[in-house]
Symmetry: C2
């Protein structure tokens, strides 16, 4: 059993302990010294608890602590409909465990956050204590738990793969260089090679880990390090089997957020999406026709969707199918990586997909090539030498099943879900073109 | 629901389907073409399945596939006590999904592994398919699941922190340098700063992610990238509250391995340790006395334990307490990082611990300083300037509770548990002084 030196009770547990004398520990969220009474509101990981000091000696002991002082308060749990949670601590005694050396950049007890994003990020260790700024990260943790639980239930195995690689697999640009004991190497842009190779060992694998993109631009939706939720599975018919697994994953993530982060969703006014039994899908070529007919702009001939057209398609899916999710399938091969499986019968298109969620591309995935000779042909067709890919290709020299997978950016998901104006609000300590601290 | 193009059945499910005509898909583990019968043994993620071909036409179709060919076999499930799992597929039809371009470096179907470790690692995408080489990684995945489940149950929040930092927190040496958009930076040696800072936000946090040590030596127990299972919690009395949480974590890991990887433990002849309700503990100073009395060598005055003495202490704990785990507490401050909390009343010792498991240090942890002024004093006492630690210290300027935590090396745990002679056998794609591929 876990023993702690004091038998501490969490704020959220107080309503069950009316009449008991208990100890609550947390940060002084707000102190209100009045003439004949002092109110202290403590904040712990479960919520807020109020203590009421009325005896002159106790009032003196309770006064003078700046907000964010770490306090231990022992008192009698007493019902009071006006107090947070309907209870408060009376006849309390207070001990300061440690005091702040400095005030936060803004008052953490106020309902809003009167600070710019750079201020929030510069002072993350203290600003993230604000309930509004903390909440996305609780939702994020629940989302990852849901991702893993869904895949565990489908027979997937978790893997941990190298973040330092001898050559870039996704593309030569946008990589961070490392000096590896004197050998030039790179931070991994994705676990693509490793997860595909491990289909040969475990059939179904996932990884939840950092990936690195040396994006030289500064936007509200790009990070130089983000958490990639990757999955890959063998013995698929085509990309639709991958999409079916992704549907289960999204349902698992949403359900776990509802169960584990309901309080945070309420605080941020988050409406969780319904994940349809079958997420609507539309082929890329058909999507372009719809966009042309619906917007008056004609994107046909373009090999990718413009952000504005992704938003338009999302609205279309909501209108026509009542779904906040939409699969766009069959992206032109020319815009997909060399390992992408072409569409049988229409080799200019691919067995790939993007998942749009509330107007934004959230997931990219698809079926991959699985035959060694197909890889050689694909590289030759692109005029690329197979030599730099030798390590990558080795996995396919030994018999690989038809397979596919997807990658979901955790911070992008959380930002979209919580309606954040910037992906950095869904990242504890963002790393980007300009930010390497704290 | 998940639909696949064929309704595939796993090898392990066959005993429940006797009499049914089903499709099994997997790798040709072993083909045995005899004069009047051909046996094919398929391997999938659940185990092995045998198909028996007796009709001349079917025998011809089943012959000539090299091992590791990916096959789809449809047949009738028939009881046969001699076959793997007590069943086999009869009247089978076979389709090759993809063939190997090359034979594996050794036969994967033989019970043993007749290859050196470098061969195994050089060809990881195919050698890890061998059941003996695959098993540690299934045990590893179950271990991480157990780690998370134990901490989830204790109110911890999962975090994802930067792997690129502007300055080294653990020590100036052994860091990998990165060019971050022109700014010198480093791969993170641990999430130490971030997890401590997040105690101020979530109270109890964990992370399961990669850490990087530019260890310039090549040993059987060091890697340059490994998976660190990190936890940190606030409102502790002292390091013993951290040890109590670690005990729960070890119990959770062991139970989950037993439940999810029982087959792999049996294959590797792993005996899971019992985690005592209370893991025995011994103070560093007392441990040195015991070692002096027991071995004839006198380590007193040394600030750390030699590996041989760790082994001796482990044997002592097994002999005296019947435990394969032993906490050594109170390591001298001089060998612990600056953020370590000293032992009250004996400030030359610390409120820290190592956990020994089967003769090896597996976990390091302890109570940390939590007051800003104590950090300043600790750095001054070491003759270090506070300036390089400004970012680190910022978290402690705003009120931090007494807290502590620990870090457990996943690969070291798995290697020790499985009796591996080298930590690389518990790592899918090791990274070290000499190895950057595959």
């Amino acid at each position: 059993m876990i023993s702690t030196s004091t038998t501490r009770v969490l704020a959220a547990e107080l309503p069950l302990r009316i009449g008991d004398r208990v100890t609550v520990q947390g940060w002084l969220h707000r102190g209100r010294p009045l003439k004949s009474v002092v109110f202290l509101v403590l904040r712990d990981r479960s919520g807020l608890a109020q203590a009421v000091f009325t005896e002159p000696e106790a009032m003196a002991a309770a006064s003078g602590h700046p907000e964010e002082t770490v306090l231990s308060v022992t008192g009698t749990v007493t019902a009071n409909p006006q107090a947070p949670g309907g209870v408060e601590l009376t006849s309390p005694e207070v001990v300061a465990l440690s005091g702040p050396a400095e005030a936060p950049p803004f008052d953490l007890y106020r309902p809003g956050v009167p600070a710019t994003l750079p201020t929030v990020l510069d002072h993350a260790p203290v600003t993230l204590r604000h309930p509004l700024l903390r909440a996305p990260h609780v939702i994020s943790a629940a989302s990852v738990a849901g991702f893993r639980a869904a895949l565990d239930g489908l027979g997937f195995t978790e893997i941990h793969t190298p973040k330092v690689v001898a050559s870039a697999t996704e593309s030569g640009a946008n990589v961070f260089a490392i000096d590896w004991f004197g050998t030039p190497s790179y931070l991994a842009q994705s676990p693509q090679f490793f997860k595909q190779a491990m289909v040969g060992v475990f059939e179904r694998v996932y990884e939840t880990g950092p990936v690195f993109r040396a994006e030289p631009h500064d936007t509200a939706r790009h990070l130089a390090q983000y958490t990639s939720l990757d999955a890959e599975l063998g013995f698929v018919g085509d990309h639709r089997d991958v999409m079916a697994v992704l549907r289960e994953v999204l349902a698992g993530m949403t359900e776990t957020v509802a169960r584990q982060a309901g309080q945070e969703c309420a605080l941020l006014d988050v409406t969780l999406p319904e994940v349809p039994e079958r997420i609507p899908e539309i082929h890329f070529s058909r999507a372009q026709e719809l966009i042309a007919a619906g917007t008056g702009e004609d994107p046909r001939g373009e090999p990718d969707l413009a952000p504005a057209h992704e938003r338009w398609l999302s609205e279309w899916a909501l209108r026509e199918h009542g779904s906040e999710f939409l699969f766009v399938t069959g992206y032109p091969m020319v815009k997909r990586p060399f390992y992408t499986h072409p569409e049988p019968g229409r080799p200019e298109y691919s067995n790939s997909f993007d998942l749009l969620f509330r107007g934004l591309e959230l997931v990219t995935g698809g079926q991959r090539l699985h035959r060694y000779e197909d890889y050689l042909a694909a590289l030759a067709a692109r005029g690329e030498s197979a030599r730099p890919y030798e390590g990558y290709l080795s996995a396919f020299r030994h018999g690989m099943p038809p397979h596919g997978g997807f990658a979901l950016g955790l911070e992008r998901w959380t930002a979209r879900l919580t309606g954040a104006d910037n992906i950095r609000r869904a990242t504890l300590f963002p790393r980007d073109l300009h930010r390497l601290t704290p």
